[in-house]
Each structure stands twice: as structure tokens, then as C-alpha cells.
Symmetry: C2
């Protein structure tokens, strides 16, 4: 909304400079009040012994969505490393930064929530179900939550300055806190295979579509 | 941000009522200026002959994400009705309404974007690929886009007042406009199988998690 459009009818006598100051004051007082969590900055919180506190699920489930995939248990010897659907989100400010620069900024947070595949009334041998829109893998209940954070300040010695936290592979409630994973548990695979700065952008058309050319 | 917290330091002499009016004026002038599309209202646009114009992809890809699933071609006789990954989003104002009421409001828009499964270097017989996080279905390139709108005003005679539009099952660019589908093409399956008001909430844990009890 342009200030110029509204100035004449509301504050006809003030100068442009005064108007700008007025608007700045308004923003200071009212602040942005998004009804969703999507515009709010998220700053990770830690316990005194450096465990990452789990954010409110209402937060990350409203973040920009960057991709999903499914690794069914039935296709992974009955126990997929990540059971089974993955939903990947990025914090809103880092999304804005990525759209502008094509880079993951200091403080980027990527969240991955998992669900089991849906099989309420049994499933096919490969874990798929036959639904009205076709045979495939549909989402069941939540089954895990993980976060990765990029921060040179917090993780100066981790490859790429990315650290990984898992709040457990289980139904809700997830663990309230998470210990930082050793680099060989998560970071090493990301470093070896991820297409772009430890992020698997090769799996995420959403990120590829907004990356500046 | 609470007005009460900030009032003393900025406008110590005004009454609470005056402060509220001042804040209302500020909001009127400055408006919310989201850097993402997630807070903005979306109003469908039509051509003079009632074709729905496709919105900018930047818009719906920032909407709240409500779920995904995959119906691989390889599991559907080589030609899935919807090839192949489905990403489902809801317009932001209807998301806010759903969180409050558990209902899909007049004007709800649900968008479904499709991608093929990823198989850059070949795939397994079932269309899956073996990736570092497991064997499964990963996202390839965009392959289609569809929208459904609920509106008693626009669609008084459609079951549930839902109308369905497809902008094609093909790589981008999608079709610029879409004709409303006959009820038997889409609506009838939604009516018969969807768990809640023509929406497949049985597949969307995100929606189930925010629905008021």
C-alpha cells in the first residue's frame, strides 16, 4: 500500500518527511501483526546445556514449503531411515533472502516433519494404498521432526556451518529438546550429496523455481 | 506486539481510546506489507467468457501447505490420473478461517501442483530411485496445476458449491486459463470420498492438526 495514495485524504497538511516519520512511528507502535506465522522471524532457543528447544508446531507448519518426498518402510527393509513422508519447510526470512540471492543466509533454519504412510485398512505389499486418485503413498499420522540450522557464529567448526537436530522419530508429542548430532550422523551425507550448500535442492523444485538466474 | 507495552514511552498523554484510534489509523495508512505472498488475499480472476486466469506461481507456492502424496505412473498402468507428486496449498485467509472454525469458508481456494517423480539417471521398476536418505519417490520437475474454489455465489448449483479447474498436466508454462470442469469429472469423486466438505482431509495431517476440537 503506497503512502502517497493515502496521504491526501488522511493527513493533507503534513510534509512528505513528516509523513514518513509518522508512518515509521506507526510501524514501531503497531508492528506487523501477521495472522499466520509465516512472516515472523524465528530465532532458535537453547537450554543452558545447549539443547535446542522444539518450536511450536504452529510455527513451522506455516513456513514456506520447499518440498516433499516419501521413503516407504516397505521399500527400505521395513525400516526407512526417515519414516516415511518428508515435508520440508524453510523459515520465512531465509526464504525471502534465498529468493533474492539464491543463497542460504546466516541463521537459515530448515525444518523436516515426517509422517507415516496411510494404511488405515491395510495396504499393498509395497506399503501403497489404492485411493480414488490412484495407487500410491498418502500421508498418515505425524512420525517425527528434525531441524537444521546454518550459523557460522554458532557452528564455526561444522562443515558448511550446518548443524542437525532430531526431536525423535515417533508420533507427537516429539521430544521437547534435541542434542546436536555429530557431523558424521547427518552432515556428512548432506556434504557429499546435496546439490547446493548442504541442501538437497535437486529434490526441491520449489527452491529451484525461485532461485535467481 | 501489545499496544499497552509501547504506549507509555511513545504517547504518554493519550487515552486508551485515542491510542486505539491512532493504531487503527496507522494500520490504514501503512497497511501490512508482507514480503511473501502468504498474508495477501487472493481473489480469483476470470476472463469475460468465465475462464479462470492462472495466478502467478509465486503466489500459490507461498501459500500454507496442507499436504502431499504421490501416485507414481509406474504404479498406475504407466499413466497416473495425476502425474505424480501432488502438493496441496490453501489460500491464506481461508487457512486462518479454517484454524478458527474448522470450516472451509465462502471463497476458499485450494491449489494442487504436480511434479513428476525424479529419475534423472534411471529408476527402479516401480519408478522409485535410490537416494542417500533411502529408496522412494523424490520430486522431479513440475508437471501440472489445478485449482478448486468453493463459492455459493459463483457456483450455486454445484455440489457443495465447489468448482474445479485444471491448467493442464504438462511442464511449465501451464495453460493461461482453465475452463470449469463438469461436476462428474472432479466433483463427484470429492463428494463421494473426501472426508470433510469435498476436501480429502483424511490425507492431510496438517489440516487435522489445526482443526478446532
Amino acid at each position: 500500500m503506497s503512502l502517497e495514495v493515502y496521504k491526501p485524504t488522511i493527513k493533507p497538511s503534513v510534509t512528505t518527511t513528516a509523513s514518513a516519520a509518522f508512518v515509521a512511528l506507526c510501524v514501531l507502535i503497531t508492528g506487523p501483526e501477521p495472522s499466520n506465522a509465516q512472516e515472523a522471524a524465528y530465532v532458535p532457543e537453547f537450554t543452558s546445556d545447549k539443547l535446542l528447544k522444539i518450536p511450536d508446531a504452529k510455527l513451522w507448519r506455516e513456513w514456506p514449503f520447499v518440498g516433499s518426498l516419501v521413503t516407504p518402510n516397505a521399500m527400505n527393509d521395513g525400516e526407512a531411515p526417515f519414516p516415511e513422508h518428508h515435508m520440508v519447510y524453510i523459515d520465512p526470512l531465509s526464504w525471502v533472502h534465498y529468493k533474492k540471492t539464491g543463497e542460504f543466509r546466516e541463521g537459515t533454519v530448515i525444518a523436516k516433519e515426517l509422517t507415516l504412510v496411510r494404511a488405515p485398512d491395510g495396504a499393498n505389499e509395497d506399503g501403497s494404498t489404492d485411493e480414488v486418485s490412484g495407487t500410491g503413498y498418502f500421508m498418515g499420522e505425524y512420525s517425527g521432526f528434525e531441524i537444521t540450522i546454518k550459523s557460522e557464529e554458532l557452528y564455526p567448526d561444522d562443515p558448511g556451518n550446518w548443524a542437525y537436530y532430531s526431536f525423535g522419530h515417533q508420533p507427537e508429542p516429539y521430544n521437547a529438546t534435541a542434542m546436536r548430532q555429530p557431523a558424521e550422523a547427518c552432515n556428512s551425507c548432506h556434504e557429499a550429496v546435496a546439490a547446493e550448500d548442504f541442501v538437497f535442492t535437486q529434490f526441491y523444485p520449489v527452491l529451484r523455481s525461485v532461485k535467481p538466474k
